[in-house]
Structures are given as C-alpha cells and as structure tokens.
C-alpha cells in the first residue's frame, strides 16, 4: 500500500504521580498501591511507570529502554545503530519476574550510552542528537521501540494491569524522587506494549487520560519539527509537544499550559492588556498545539511534575500535599490510600496547571552535559 496510514488508539485511563520536593528517593510501593486502587479505570491492556532519580550510578548517561518484538533481527539492527552512534557503557536485559500476569512480554533491554557525534552531527546538542536517534530507531527499525531515553530516569510499561506490570519489572526494587503511573483502558485494537503509557522522549514523560480530538493537527504540526508519531497512540503527541516547547523552545510551564489548554477568546478579552496580548499571541502562534478533546495528563521531567486538564475539564485530576510529598491522581481516594492525612487536597480548574518543583538543589536536578566516558 502506498499510502501512509496512521493508527491511533484511544483510551480512558487512571493516572497517578508522586513527588518528593526535596528530591529524596522513595520506593514505588505506595504508587503501585495507589494505581492498583484505580483498577476499574483500566482494562488490563496497559500499565506503566516513569521513575526519576532511578540510575544515580549512571546519572550522566542516557538510559535507553528499548523493546524488541519478533526474532533477533530488530535487536541486532538496533545494537549496530547504537554502536555506530553512541558509546555504550553498559547494557543488559531488563530484569523481569517471569510469573507476573502479563501477556506475551517482549524482550526489553536497557542501554546506558553517551553520544558519539560525528561530522555534521557535532553541531547538534546532545539532546537533539538523542531525539534524532530515537526517531531513527522508532521509524526505521521494524519491531524496535524506544520506551525511554532520558538520563537518570526510566519508563517501564507493558500490557497488563499496572500492578502486574510493576510486578513483571520488579519495580518494588527501584527508588526515585518522582514516580508517575498509568493504568490503561484502550478502546480499540489490541493493547500493545509500545502503546502503554507513560510516553517518553529524553527525560520528558507523559501519562495521559483521554482522547485527543486534535490529534491529526497536533501530529502534523510536530512532524514539521522532526517528530514522528510511531507508537500508534494519541498521547504520544503530548510528549513530543512538551519536548518541543519546553526543552527546545525553552518556554515556561505556565506558558505551555496556556498553549495546550488556552482560555476561550471571551475569557482572554476580559484579561488585562498585557496578559491579553500574551494569551492572544500564544493562541495565534501555537494554534496547532492546542490539545483538544478530553484529557488529564501528568507530565514529568527532572525536578518537576506537572498536572493539567483540558480547558473544559472533561477528565478528572486531583492534587494532594502532605509534607514533602505532593500527589496527583485521577481520584482522590487513591491519594488518601497512600497518605490518609493531607495538608491540602484540591481539584484545579480546567486548563490550570499544577506545577510541582524541587525545593532548591535536590539530588534530582537536571544534568546537562555528558562527562566523557573515561
């Protein structure tokens, strides 16, 4: 068939996030319990976790989690590409528990790499270089999909209920200072491992509940900037949009929230002059990145966890704070399960972001430059 065919899965879901704002790492026990508590929001066809502060021993290297399906071919091809493009300092098969209740687990491998840029590529920043290689693998190598590509963080996901996926990847053995989790209810096609959330590019992850009715517009705009949606699900566009806006264009989160979920024109007109000009400009320039349709997302990167819903709040999101811990969740009950007492619990308005940041130089700070492999 000559035509490009895009597939899009749509899903309802549960999302949960927990962050220690002092950057102290904690185990996933509570997060797994919380997401399991929202069992009914998923249907066993997808679950996943993102963990920040995961690999302190390799904190200067990009940690690539790559899934391979089918026979050896995809891995061989990927290994060749990785060896050509990176210094691979360590790689291993992802430890997994054989007895977990997950169907047809693919081979998942993790690589810790440093960019080995040659020729023209030297002009690219490390991050751009990694994005390019991730796109190369996803687009060009059949049956290989990069789950995760950030430093000192990782995404674990698959088909099954999130608690089963956690068991499969033995997540109780990991620690991190931000955990986000997702339980999935795909409504069409079979759930597949690559389609589970969170979606990741570099250290940006997105766990999404909803269906993006602007998907086609968003996807085609992002294609202009070199992002190609290959994971067959609409949530992927949010991850790439976040990378484009926050990392490449350096826009603050508050601005990005107004791009994804802008106020309606009538509300903009009621704002004071300077705000009005700003909001109108954002809507004009970034109209193709308005995320339309119902969504609640938890976006995370090093040092920050963000919760956001669509502008008319068609999906739920609740926040809770207890001491150093901040929680975001589809349901308040899941937060209460982890932390019976909360200093504060609230539900934000549609399109109003909740930004949780590290409280000054915690250990999870973003690391920019690679220290060359000695």
């Amino acid at each position: 068939m000559r035509r490009k065919m895009y597939e899009k899965e749509i899903s309802a879901c549960s999302i949960f996030g927990a962050m220690n704002i002092e950057g102290e790492r904690f185990t996933g026990e509570g997060v797994i319990k919380a997401i399991a508590n929202m069992h009914l929001r998923g249907n066993g066809l997808g679950g996943g976790f993102a963990i920040y502060g995961l690999y302190p021993e390799y904190e200067y290297y990009y940690a690539l989690h790559i899934m391979f399906r089918g026979n050896e071919g995809a891995k061989k091809e990927t290994d060749a590409l990785l060896n050509r493009s990176f210094d691979v300092v360590h790689d291993e098969e992802m430890p997994s528990g054989e007895r977990a209740n997950v169907p047809d687990p693919p081979l998942v491998w993790r690589y810790f790499v440093a960019p080995d840029k040659k020729g023209k590529d030297k002009l690219l920043s490390d991050d751009d270089y990694v994005v390019q290689k991730v796109m190369d693998i996803n687009l060009r190598i059949e049956n290989a999909h990069v789950f995760s590509s950030g430093k000192n963080m990782g995404v674990f996901k698959g088909v099954g209920y999130p608690e089963d996926v956690a068991e499969y990847f033995q997540l109780d053995s990991y620690r991190g200072h931000i955990w986000t989790a997702h339980g999935r209810f795909p409504t069409n096609t079979q759930g597949w491992w690559g389609g589970a959330h969170p979606f990741c590019i570099l250290d940006w992850t997105v766990a999404h509940n909803g269906e993006i009715s602007s998907y086609g517009t968003n996807r085609r705009y992002l294609e202009m900037f070199g992002y190609h949606c290959t994971l067959n699900t609409d949530s992927e566009v949010i991850a790439y949009a976040v990378d484009l806006l926050m990392r490449r264009q350096n826009l603050p989160m508050d601005v990005v929230a107004k791009i994804f979920a802008p106020p309606v024109w009538e509300a903009i007109e009621r704002e004071e002059e300077s705000k009005k000009i700003l909001l109108a400009m954002l809507r004009r320039v970034y109209a193709p990145l308005l995320i339309n349709g119902p969504f609640a997302v938890i976006i995370a990167h090093h040092g920050e966890m963000i919760g956001l819903t669509d502008r008319i709040r068609l999906r739920p999101l609740t926040a809770g704070v207890r001491g150093k811990m901040t929680y975001l969740s589809s349901e308040e009950a899941a937060i209460r399960l982890v932390s019976k007492k909360l200093d504060r619990a609230w539900t934000p308005n549609g399109g109003e972001p909740i930004v949780v940041s590290l409280d000054g130089g915690g250990r999870g700070e973003k690391v920019d430059e690679v220290i060359p492999f000695a």
Partner: protein, 514 residues
C-alpha cells in the same frame, strides 16, 4: 461584439434552451415578466391583450417566474433534443452551431458545470461516540475565530521575576475573522455597486472580510468598509493607490483565477460608468483590460519584488496574499510563493466562478480545489513552512460541510463567491458576461442594478454566514473539537468513500472503515 453582424441576416439554427409555459388562466397581464426580463423574452401584445414569450432569448434565470404574482409562469429546460449521441451531446452541437453563426470564442459566466469529480461528495466527517464527549455548541464555547497571515516558527518567552512573561518575538501582521468564511473577489465593474456594497456591509456586520477583486474600492466605501476589505492588486492595476492599499485589512496580488487560469479579463467600455472609471482610475467608457500575466511578474523573484513593494507601501502592517488558480504544480508554486514573502496563499479551484470566461478555459483548465488544498498543505508541511502562511481555499464551496472538509484538509479559511451571489439572488444562469443580469448583480444597467437593495442583500448574506457558522459549530462539536484550529489539517476526521488509491493518497485520508 463579434457575430452581432451575422445575427442580422443569418437564420439561427439554435434550439431555445428553455421553454416557457404560461398558464393563461392565471396570467393577469400585469407585465411584471416583461419588465423583469432584460433579455426581452416577454412581450405584451396590446391588440390581442395577451403576453407572448420569445423563448430563444430566455436564459432560464427564473426572475420572471419568481416575480409573477400569480405563479402563471414555468420556465424549464427545453425537452426537445437531437438524436442521443454520447460524443455529440446537445451542448456540443449547440456550442458548435453558435460558433458557426458568430465566428467567436464561446463565452460563459459563473463556475465550471462539467461533471468532474466533486471530492466533497467523497469525504465523510467523523463524530465522537463514547470515548470522547461530543460538545453542544448551544451550551459550551465553540470557537471559529481565525487569524490569517504569517505566524513565527516559535515565540521567545521569558519568565520575569515579577511573574510576568515577556515575549521578545515580533508578530507579523495578522487579520482576524470571526468565522472562517470570506467573500471571494468580485470586482466592482463585474458586479453592480449595490451588490458590491452588500458584500462589504455583510462582511463588516459579521466580522469577516470581502475581497474587492481587481476593480478597486469606491472612495465612499473606504472609510466604513476598508477594514473589512482584502484589496486586490491585479494585472490591470486598476484603482491601486496608497489610500486603497492602506485602508484595507490585507492586500492580495491576483495571479490567477480558478475559472480562467492563465488568462486575463476584459471589462467592455460600455460598462465603464463614471463611478467605475473613477474607482478604476481609467477614462469613462474605455475598455478595462487585465493582461493575462502581471507584466512585472515573469518569475518568482519578480513576485517577491511586488510582495515587498506592497509591504513597503503599507508599512509592513498588512498581510499580503497571493492568489493563484489551482493548477498541476500548485504545491511547488505555493512553496515558492511563501518563500517569496506571501503571508496568505489563496487557491482558487477548478469550479471557481467568473463574470466572464472563455468556455473552453473554464471547463478544461485547472484542478479541483480539494486536491489542491491537500497537496499544497502537505508540501508546505514537508518543507516546514506551513505556519509561515495561511491557506485560503476558493472555488466550489457549496455548503458548510464543504467548508469543514476544506479546513480538515488543510485550509485556514475559505472564500465563497458563487455561494454569496446565490444568497443575493443569483440562479446560475451563467449569463453574467452579457451585463444583463436580471437579478441586478452582474450588471451596470442602473435599472437592473437597483433591484439589489444593499440593506436586504447584506442581510441575506449575513444570514448565510450565520447559518453556515452555526452548522460548522455543530459539526465541530460532534467531533469533540471546540476550536476551529484543532480541525485545521486534521485529516484524521475525514474518510474517503468511492475513491481510488491515488486519490486517497493525494488527499491524505484513509478510506471509510479503515
């Protein structure tokens, strides 16, 4: 006109196109039909006290039938026919006969009526079910506001200490329309002052734009309606002066027109009244000739020179549009236009209308707008420059669903010409080039032109805009979208039916059920 001489002595072999049936019991001989018809089809015979019809001159515009107070008239296509012949159809025979009798180029008006595929009829829209709530526009915000013009690739924003966000990127000029429907170029001269003013009034009333076409903007309309005008600068350069350019919302360079790609225009001297002469800045009574090309644009770099000349003249405060007919290489041409500095690409498709065009050109040159939108949008995206311009699609939008489909294929907004004329009364008799429009639209005869009352005609136009906008909102809401920008280029919401693989490929849509 050529052939006029022959008519005097040569018997015409043409069959009348229409047959007029008059119900004598109903006819009260009020002579309304006689007065309404500029083609002198109806005649009252005093001696016999009876109305007669000369069917050879009837164009089938239905003016007499609509205005007959007793509904005594029925005008219908002549059922008489030549022997059926798939190759030599009645139309081919009568066209040839016409040429044998006149020795002239066949002229026609309005848009291509040939049975080329209408892709709108092969595209179906999506709607939300279960997983995504549809949105009711009567109860929830539903936004159609559209900005036309270049957008920067990104904004440089900085979060200041006081929490304010400062943007250092300079915004190129954009123009806002409240609905993504604009009135297409209909020049004063081609249409009557009254019809022209009606379009201006409606655009201003509804918050959208009208296009002056190439005949300038009468001075008395500039102050009130200039801010809703896209002023054209065409190959004849009629009426272009600094005030004209600067009173506008945007400037448009007309390279081509969907109804007659590759050829110019000709307004006969008898139509050039004093006001038209003043507006076009030519002597009254002289022919207004628009050359086929713009004689200062023989290449893409020449286009760039004119674009920037116009930007200079307007202090870089107006978006500059370039309008081309949709032709085989539109995608590559459009890409060049954007790089040459065009802020808006106006594409006029195969079915775009005209006041006068050679029939062979109208019926055989160009490509359907649906395919043109799609290939231009795709090309600009491949080159990463889609956001540097807006795409305005024209030529064949007949209803609000066509508008929605055009935007989903990749247009920012659409131009409607024929649809606007129909709202004012036009019945597509295709005789615009005769200057005898019985509906007072495409004529400079004061007796006919005053049939258009701008207060009423503009109301009919705003009603059309309101109705279509409401329908667009309903369709958007059904798709779970509450802002028009989320539909733009969103071909996921389209599915093709009855299309071949290559057509789906060009349109960039899946087949229904895929």
């Amino acid at each position: 006109m050529e052939g006029e001489e022959e008519k005097k002595w040569m018997k015409s072999y043409l069959l009348p196109e229409f047959i007029i049936e008059r119900n004598e019991d109903r006819c009260i001989k009020c002579k309304v039909c006689e007065r309404q018809c500029a083609f002198e089809t109806h005649r009252y015979d005093e001696e016999l006290d009876r109305m007669f019809s000369n069917e050879e001159s009837c164009v089938g515009c239905q003016r007499c039938a609509v205005f007959c107070p007793t509904n005594a008239l029925t005008v219908k296509p002549n059922q008489s026919a030549y022997r059926p012949n798939y190759s030599w159809t009645g139309e081919r025979i009568s066209d040839l006969t016409k040429q044998a009798e006149t020795g002239a180029v066949l002229l026609t008006g309005s848009g291509n009526d040939r049975p080329y595929p209408i892709y709108w009829e092969h595209l179906l829209l999506n709607a939300s079910q279960v997983t995504n709530p549809s949105i009711d526009p009567l109860r929830e915000p539903m936004e159609l506001r559209t900005f036309l013009g270049r957008k920067p690739d990104m904004l440089e924003a900085e979060l200041m200490d006081d929490g304010e966000v400062r943007i250092s990127t300079e915004m190129p000029p954009n123009v806002m329309v409240k609905t993504p429907i604009l009135f297409s170029a209909l020049s004063y001269g081609a249409i009557s002052y009254q019809a022209f003013k009606s379009l201006a009034m409606a655009a201003s009333e509804y918050g959208t734009l009208f296009n002056t076409g190439e005949g300038g903007l009468p001075k008395d309309l500039r102050k009130e309606y200039g801010k809703n005008a896209i002023v054209q600068c065409a190959s004849g350069r009629f009426g272009v002066d600094l005030e004209y350019l600067n009173c506008s919302a945007a400037v448009e360079i007309k390279i081509g027109q969907g109804a007659k790609p590759g050829i110019g225009g000709h307004l006969p001297g008898e139509k050039v009244s004093c006001l038209i002469a003043e507006t076009r800045m030519i002597p009254a009574g002289t022919d207004a000739l628009s050359p086929a090309p713009q004689h200062d644009i023989y290449s893409i770099e020449d286009l760039s020179a004119l674009i920037y000349a116009l930007k200079e003249a307007t202090n870089y405060e107006k978006p500059v549009s370039v309008k081309i007919a949709a032709v085989h290489n539109s995608a590559a041409i459009a890409s060049g236009m954007v790089r040459a500095g065009a802020d808006i690409i106006a594409l006029d498709g195969l079915r775009g209308g005209t006041g006068a065009a050679p029939k062979m050109i109208r019926d055989n040159v160009g490509i359907p707008i649906e395919l043109a939108i799609s290939s231009v949008d795709e090309r600009l995206r491949e080159e990463g420059i889609r956001n540097r311009c807006s795409i305005l699609a024209a030529g064949g939008m007949r209803c609000s669903a066509d508008v929605v489909k055009a935007i989903a294929l990749g247009a920012d907004a659409v131009y409607i010409g024929t649809a606007a004329l129909i709202a004012m009364g036009c019945t597509l008799c295709q005789k615009c080039y005769t200057g005898k429009c019985n509906w007072g639209i495409c004529t400079q005869d004061p007796y006919l032109a005053k049939r258009i009352n701008p207060d009423i005609a503009s109301r009919r136009l705003t009603n059309l805009l309101r109705a279509w906008s409401m329908e667009i909102k309903e369709m958007l809401g059904g798709m779970g979208i509450n802002a028009i920008e989320s539909l733009r280029g969103n071909r996921d919401h389209l599915r093709g039916v009855g299309l071949q693989e290559w057509e789906l490929e060009v349109l960039g849509v899946k087949g229904a059920g895929e």
